[in-house]
């Protein structure tokens, strides 16, 4: 719509900085108080909320792990009964995978990606708000069910027929299946937002070879989410239909197929590992630069490794099914792919080592966690190559060897970089530094506690201890190592406690952080710490991969955006040339109302198939309210 000739000029060209920032703050602000908290669409507030919630779930999952270690510390312990133990290990796995690992990686991206690509908000910000509420509802459903002794007890991959109507009595398996719908819905929403943000909202000049590696990692991860997660949603929907409506997707007696579950689940389940690992690899590539005090070695190799890993991730799922009786030649193709994926992982390792080798490393806490990650992930990768071999996997399948392997990969490969990332980006989120002393203590306790806890599990597995047993007989040779593992887990727990204490203490009393405390080169450090609601007073223009190193004092900026409405620059896909000015939606209560309506429908549908029919009416009403024009300046777009 054309602006009338007499209307005041509301563009940011030739306007004093103080007037500009005050106008932008008014346009982009989140109102204070409870209503503002419910209606906000600011990616930073939602990202922080997501990260906090995910860490709450990490702590809850950790409590379950501690309970399991307490139970296994002695043979024939009676602390936890078999039924509760089944719920506990299922809850631990499902919670850590679906409520912590995937959401926390996406949450970090929700906060950081718009800042790193130099835009003012994430694409589809209301969808972003909706995704958080849905995620919270899924987590609340799972934990409420557990508190009511209705927690799922079928393992985190809920194999049929154990989870089917024949053996899975009550609603426990349904709770698991519907929790999947909640968390996958929220993950898919974020994935779409990230893809559009990265493709269309990059700062002018940010060509493909100037995109930060973490942003590349999140782009690849988002495509993995979009392509992998529908498989498990289809699988879990089929399971609910089998249990509630009486279909026979997984019932061989009626023409169904039990192996269909395994194929569908692992077609999602193996890429899931890389959905968790690739963001962590991106974090490492980004964090290593300021601490090595040089650009990351082999940018092209790092990007190639992320993309190749993302694609190869879809050709590995059968290595979880080596004992399912498929032809050996077919299995060997998955062995080949499983070993081939070690090549891009190895390239990344060599790039990081070369960066450190040729740099002048400063061993602050984030770099310590990176070093811990490199060592631990290499061990996890080596045992990964071992279990990719059919004869070896056949021997150790469903033993503690596999438990040790995937904890090395997931904690070493994702949690260590994440903890480093928390220390690294904490000043950006809070404006305060974390304590180095507490950081170093927590690092050493976690690295020692982790290895002492999980390395002996390899030996327990080789000695034949199966996973998921709630107790064992005293005459079996597992007692000594189990005691050692349980004692070591106390060290690990203290390390994590220290980390949480450091976070809460530093958020309140930490040293005030400058805008760019690490002298980092990426755009999120070009704004204040913490950033204002509009992220950047003027949109930066990028001339290199390391804009804050190469244009240290005179980062060029673009102008011409309106200040009286939420507006951002849309750029071309490859060259990031300015293409259009696009409005960004204002705060709204409708995402929350849509999430509440969706939650009611999904939980109700555990009990009645008619919930899908009647429950969709409030959802439709909420969506109409969501998209109805509100008479704001953004509607002009």
């Amino acid at each position: 719509m054309n602006r009338p000739a007499t209307a005041p000029d509301t563009h940011d060209t030739d306007i004093a900085r103080t007037r500009l920032t005050s106008a932008l703050a008014k346009t982009w602000k989140t109102p204070p108080g409870f209503w503002g908290a419910l209606t906000t669409v600011d990616h930073k507030i939602i990202g922080r909320r997501y990260i906090f919630t995910a860490f709450v779930f990490l702590a809850l999952g950790g409590v379950l792990a501690a309970l399991m270690r307490l139970q296994l510390a002695q043979p024939e312990a009676r602390l936890i009964g078999p039924d509760r133990y089944n719920q506990i290990f299922t809850m631990h796995g499902a919670n850590m995978m679906f409520l912590f690992a995937v959401p926390v990686m996406e949450a970090v991206a929700v906060y950081l990606v718009p800042l790193m690509v130099g835009t003012r908000n994430i694409a589809f910000p209301r969808l972003n708000a909706f995704s958080y509420w849905i995620y919270l509802a899924g987590g609340a459903l799972l934990w409420t069910a557990f508190a009511l002794d209705m927690g799922p007890d079928v393992g985190w991959f809920a194999y049929v027929p154990l989870s089917g109507p024949q053996y899975g009595a009550g609603k426990r398996a349904d709770i698991w299946a519907q929790m999947i719908t909640f968390t996958e819905l929220s993950a898919l929403a974020i994935a779409v937002e990230l893809v559009v943000t990265i493709f269309k909202q990059r700062a002018p000049g940010m060509t493909l070879d100037r995109i930060p590696v973490f942003v590349w990692a999140m782009l690849v991860t988002s495509f993995l989410v979009i392509m992998a997660m529908p498989a498990v949603m289809i699988a879990s929907t089929g399971l609910i239909l089998d249990r509630l409506v009486g279909t026979h997707f997984y019932n061989p007696a009626e023409g169904g197929d039990v192996l269909l579950w395994q194929h569908l689940f692992w077609f999602f389940g193996h890429p899931e590992v890389y959905i968790i690992f690739l963001p962590a690899a991106g974090m490492v590539s980004t964090m290593i630069e300021p601490f090595a005090r040089r650009p990351a070695f082999g940018y092209l190799g790092l990007v190639m490794a992320l993309i190749a890993t993302g694609i190869l991730a879809f050709g590995l799922w059968v290595h979880h099914m080596f004992v399912a009786g498929l032809p050996r030649l077919g299995d060997s193709f998955f062995t080949a792919s499983s070993m081939a994926i070690a090549v891009p992982a190895g390239i990344q390792m060599f790039c990081w080592l070369a960066t450190l080798w040729d740099g002048r490393p400063v061993f602050k806490t984030p770099l310590l966690f990176i070093m811990g990650f490199i060592v631990t992930f290499v061990i996890g990768g080596l045992t990964g190559v071992m279990v990719a071999s059919v004869p070896f996997d056949t021997q150790v399948h469903d033993t503690y060897f596999v438990v040790a392997h995937f904890h090395y990969v997931l904690i070493g490969g994702a949690v260590f970089p994440l903890l480093g990332a928390v220390h690294y980006w904490f000043p950006k989120l809070t404006g305060r530094m974390m304590s180095e002393t507490l950081g170093r203590w927590s690092f050493w306790l976690i690295i020692v506690g982790f290895n002492a806890t999980f390395f002996p599990m390899h030996i327990l597995g080789l000695e034949g201890m199966p996973r998921r047993i709630y107790t064992y007989q005293p005459d079996l040779p597992w007692h000594g190592l189990n005691v050692f593992v349980s004692l070591s887990s106390i060290v690990l727990t203290i390390g994590f406690l220290l980390f949480f204490i450091n976070v809460f203490r530093s958020a309140r009393f930490g040293e005030v952080a400058p805008d760019n405390p690490w002298d980092a080169p990426t755009l999120e450090w070009a704004t204040t710490s913490p950033p204002p609601s509009y992220n950047f007073p003027r949109i930066p223009v990028v001339g290199s991969l390391h804009p804050l190193w190469d244009d240290r004092d005179t980062l060029p900026v673009a102008d011409g955006l309106r200040t009286d409405r939420r507006e951002l620059i849309v750029t071309t896909l490859a060259s990031a040339g300015p293409q259009a000015r696009e409005a960004s939606p204002r705060n709204s209560i409708w995402p929350l109302l849509a999430a509440v309506a969706t939650t009611i429908m999904l939980i109700w549908s555990i009990f009645s198939p008619w919930a899908v029919v009647w429950g969709s009416i409030p959802i439709a009403v909420a969506l109409i309210g969501w998209f109805w024009p509100k008479g704001t300046p953004e509607d002009e777009s």
Partner: protein
């Protein structure tokens, strides 16, 4: 975009779309052909895997050599150069995977369960 320009861009990115496509097709054939290989001892899995490896290598070479045909603005050339190298490197990973699959098919007959 004319046909020649389209072909150039498809060639630049071949290592990232054609090579994974060949590998994905071979993965699927790896689930289907063992039964036929066991019956006839044709070793079709071996032949297809190695032909696939040759094709992915060719796509890598195309990715590596095509960016120099791109003219236009500096940003466009820079993107083409970036895409060419990343695609060529990616093709080499898929070639390796296909070679490993071919070797596995040499060792096994398709009858093993």
């Amino acid at each position: 975009m004319n046909a020649s320009r389209l072909f150039t861009y498809l060639s630049i990115w071949a290592g990232l779309w054609f090579a994974p496509l060949v590998w994905a097709v071979n993965m699927q054939l790896g689930q289907i052909l063992p039964y036929a290989d066991c019956r006839s001892q044709l070793h079709s899995s071996v032949i297809i895997s190695f032909v696939g490896a040759a094709l992915t290598s060719a796509s890598g070479i195309a990715s590596w050599s095509s960016p120099r045909r791109v003219g236009g603005e500096a940003a466009e050339q820079s993107n083409a150069h970036f895409g060419g190298i990343v695609s060529a490197l990616s093709a080499s990973v898929f070639t390796f995977a296909l070679l490993m699959q071919g070797v596995a098919a040499v060792v096994l007959t398709g009858c093993e369960k």
